[in-house]
């Protein structure tokens, strides 16, 4: 007969095994248990006690207001004192986290994506460093972090994290996060497109202690400064974030002195739980259905390919599930993949920005929402894949989330914002770096990335160059101020790019052009990092169109500063004029996709780009003719474009609308549509193919079969659950191979023997 199992011994054995494993772990790598969980932590016994004992909502609201004010104060400090351009423009957040590490109250402005993913490194610290005798967590400690595999968006963002104690007991955490830019990667500015492995991405700071007794440890600081191109900025912003956190700590201690730690804990816990409850209530108001959408990524930033970001959102009862199955597998040596928290943060942000902006900025708002992602995909990559340009994957993921959400919201009686078409989603800006006019080494970017065209709304047009999708309250900066520190001028800036509108009953908000040229340095260059030069990266809504595509234009072999001195009339102030008229003799004019790797720029050579337009809403034939005329008056569109897109009849000299003729013209167009449109089944038969286009590398599922994904060729179809690595060839090697083939052909034609190309 078997002996009964002694459960006490089993538990002891298990504890012993756990202790052994913990003590003998050779590497505390990224922790999936932490990183894959976006939910708020379960109530602890202490939190339960506090909530029971402090149920006065007035007291909770009073504490919350003071904490919110403290977060805003910290935000202001960082924005006013921070050295990084990102800090100055509001690409920051300051927040207060529960003792378990949940972000409960965040600053209202700034980058909301941080609200959903800066908690991971705190949970790593709690799990690994509190009981670690060589580290520990004490009053006055500060931890730094930037590695996106441990939380956060990408490695340009650095956090400073401080524990807050009351009478020796940890009561909560405070943290400040800034888009710092430079991080020592293979290209300046912190977001290298050229990264082919995580080791090309610069600093990889898992959370570690860099502050003791409220002082930055100088030895570690010096090491960090030596690892980046902007050592002074590294120091200054570490100090700024530290002091912002210390101010938050001070404000929390004022609350503790007045209300006690139990009331503070009750406030934090109640806030999180009540937001979760409210989100579930709001979801239940939506119609039960599945909405499907996808967008096209047309580039890896190194080469043009077709990449699918796919989404099906299903709502049943009070559950809302975002399923990204069918999206492209990860590209193993390209930087456009994202870690899972970045994806979730971006989807969370679409809610905070555009669906429920009235809810507190914190982690709880997204906590009850479920996310399904394919393993080793572009939206949930492995730790071995680079992700320094994860913005490409998460911005397009934002768009599909926003597009799908709008289709749920339209019928809901209780709305908290307008239904709107997708926002423009790419950072149309210049990343720059080199040695400036003062001899200092810099690497960062123009704040124009914060001007993305707003999506059209259900009752009005989108706003121009309004705000980035990752922050509702960020600035585009003062270019003249920047020019004191950087050796280039924006020769054309803030000028809307005519005829690049996303049409609709309500049109999308448009973007502006930027024309830059280096002036006072021979060691300076630019990068651009967006997709969408061949295919729009957004969708329109309910009959409205998406934006067009946006290339990079260059003029080389010219010094426009010399031209301006001698023949100023030759300089033109728009991209079409310069490119079409080619006003500079002997110059070289060219266009490119927007994935320009770091390019050294000679004095006076032009780099020209445009921000994009948000999506249009509704049938363009329903657009008020007088709004069309207003767009002409504001040079947003030209008369011929207005006639072609909106079918408005007007006098080109006086811009007087002929309403009757317009109505008749639009009626004709509707009849034409009925004549040219095919019944659905006939259309499918004529246009739908069983496979992706043959001559363009395609990545992702096809025609709804999400079990299999294509990996760049119709002959390379893989199991979506385990797609395996995908390595792309360096575009320069591709070019060399093409040229060698051409050379071989030429030699054959010339009757010369083949040359051995092996080296």
């Amino acid at each position: 007969m078997n002996k009964p199992i002694d459960l006490k011994n089993v538990a002891e054995d298990q504890d012993l095994i756990k202790k052994f494993l913990k003590e003998t772990t050779l590497f505390l790598g990224p922790d999936p248990e932490i990183i894959r969980d976006h939910r708020i932590m379960p109530r602890t016994d202490y939190e339960e006690k506090c909530v029971q004992e402090h149920s006065d909502l007035n007291q909770i609201a009073s504490i919350r207001d003071r904490l919110q004010a403290a977060c805003e104060e910290g935000f202001e400090m960082v924005e006013q004192m921070g050295a990084a351009p990102g800090a100055k423009w509001g690409d920051i957040i300051t927040g207060i986290y529960s003792a378990s590490g949940d972000l409960t109250i965040g600053s209202a402005g700034g980058v909301l994506i941080f609200s959903a993913l800066v908690h991971h490194p705190i949970k790593f610290i709690i799990k690994n460093w509190i009981d670690e005798k060589t580290v520990g967590v004490n009053e006055g400690d500060g931890f730094i972090h930037n590695d996106s595999r441990y939380g956060n968006v990408h490695n340009t963002d650095q956090s400073m994290i401080l524990p807050v104690f009351h009478e020796g007991k940890l009561v909560c955490w405070v943290a400040s996060t800034v888009h710092e830019g430079e991080n020592g990667a293979i290209e300046p500015g912190g977001m290298p497109s050229m990264a082919e492995t995580p080791f090309d991405e610069g600093l990889k700071m898992s959370p570690f202690k860099v502050v003791e007794n409220y002082e930055i440890k100088r030895d570690l600081l010096t090491f960090l400064q030596n690892s980046v191109r902007e050592p002074k900025l590294q120091y200054e912003d570490m100090k700024v974030k530290l002091f912002a956190c210390m101010r938050l700590e001070k404000r929390i201690k004022e609350v503790l002195a007045m209300e006690g730690p139990d009331a503070l804990t009750a406030c934090l816990r109640y806030t999180n739980d009540s937001v979760v409850e409210e989100v579930r209530r709001r979801i239940a108001e939506w119609p039960d259905m599945t909405v499907r959408t996808h967008v096209i990524m047309d580039s890896t930033l190194r080469e043009n390919v077709l990449i699918k970001v796919n989404l099906a959102v299903t709502k049943t009862g009070n559950r809302l599930i975002f399923d990204f199955s069918g999206s492209s597998p990860e590209i193993t040596n390209r930087a456009i993949n994202t870690q899972l928290p970045g994806l979730k943060g971006m989807v969370a942000q679409s809610f905070m920005n555009h669906v429920w902006p009235d809810l507190p900025r914190g982690q709880a708002g997204f906590s009850p929402i479920e996310v399904i992602t394919p393993n080793a995909s572009i939206v949930d990559c492995s730790y071995a894949a680079p992700n320094s340009q994860s913005l490409m994957a998460i911005f397009t993921a934002f768009t599909v989330a926003q597009h799908a959400t709008a289709k749920f919201l339209y019928s809901v009686p209780e709305k908290h914002t307008r239904v709107l078409a997708p926002w423009f989603n790419m950072i149309g800006t210049f990343i720059w770096g080199g040695v400036n006019q003062h001899g200092e080494t810099l690497g960062n970017l123009c704040a124009d990335l914060n001007g993305m065209g707003g999506g059209a709304r259900m009752d009005r047009d989108g706003e121009h160059a309004l705000a980035p999708i990752f922050a509702t309250m960020a600035d585009i900066g003062e270019q003249e101020m920047n020019e004191e520190e950087v050796p280039f001028l924006q020769l054309v800036s803030k000028k809307m790019t005519t005829n690049t509108q996303a049409p609709g009953k309500f049109r999308g908000g448009m973007g502006y052009s930027m024309i830059v040229a280096t002036k006072d340095s021979d060691q300076w260059g630019f990068m651009t990092t967006t997709v969408g030069s061949k295919a729009p990266p957004i969708q329109g809504l309910f009959g409205g169109y998406a934006c067009g595509s946006y290339p990079l234009s260059k003029v080389t072999d010219v010094d426009v500063y010399d031209v301006m001195m001698t023949e100023p009339e030759r300089f033109k102030h728009s991209i079409p004029e310069i490119m079409n008229e080619q006003p500079f003799e002997n110059a070289n004019y060219s266009t490119h996709h927007m994935g320009m790797g770091f390019d050294l720029a000679k004095r006076g050579e032009l780099y020209m780009i445009s921000q994009g337009s948000g999506g249009g809403y509704g049938d363009p034939l329903e657009r008020d003719p007088y709004m069309v005329i207003q767009d002409i008056e504001e040079s947003l569109i030209t008369p011929d474009w207005a006639k072609k897109l909106y079918h408005v009849v007007f006098n080109e000299e006086t811009l007087k609308v002929d309403e009757e003729a317009t109505e008749a013209e639009r009626k004709k167009v509707r009849e034409k549509r009925k004549a040219q449109g095919l019944p659905y089944a006939d259309f499918v038969k004529k246009y739908v193919k069983d496979q992706p286009p043959e001559n363009i590398p395609f990545y992702g599922s096809w025609n709804g079969d999400n079990d299999m994904v294509y990996a760049g060729s119709n002959d390379d179809k893989r199991d979506a659950k385990d797609p395996g690595p995908i390595y792309m060839i360096n575009p320069k090697d591709v070019k060399i191979a093409e040229l060698e083939e051409e050379l071989t052909t030429v030699r054959n034609v010339a009757g010369l023997s083949a040359k051995d190309t092996r080296t």
Partner: protein, 133 residues
């Protein structure tokens, strides 16, 4: 009762059909894909997003490449209203974008009053600040 689902589509809960909000045309079963009752047109991107720099001279012109993206337009077969537009991969099947659980929708709206116009959400009013009258 009818539920307004999009700018141009509604569902009649009694007849269980998708309908056009512009001309009242019955499009098809609300248990199915409304797109199957639409006319569809494969629009050349250059019609909507014309080049603003010379396509004879340059490879990238602000006009999307028709080999890389197709624009599907969905029209009401009765009134010609453009109900939806889909930017998609060339040759991809149109997406079944709104698959409604009709029985749950009926139950949900049995507790609500019918809306003939959609709600828009709160207006954001500009704060003009402190004033003396």
């Amino acid at each position: 009762m009818k539920v307004l689902m999009t700018e141009y589509l509604r569902i009649d809960l009694e007849s269980e059909n998708w309908e056009c909000r512009v001309c009242d045309h019955t499009i098809g079963s609300a248990r199915g894909n409304y797109k199957e009752g639409m006319l569809v047109y494969n629009r050349d991107p250059a019609d909507i997003h014309p080049s603003i720099i010379d396509p004879e001279k340059y490879r990238f012109t602000f006009c999307p490449d028709k080999d890389w993206v197709h624009i599907y337009e969905f029209y009401c077969p009765s009134c010609g209203t453009q109900v939806e537009v889909e930017y998609t991969f060339p040759g991809h099947v149109p997406l079944h974008d709104m698959e409604v659980d009709l029985d749950t929708l009926k139950k949900q709206w049995s507790q609500r009053d019918e809306l003939t116009e959609p709600t828009t959400g709160p207006n954001v009013l500009v704060d003009r600040g402190h004033r003396h009258h």
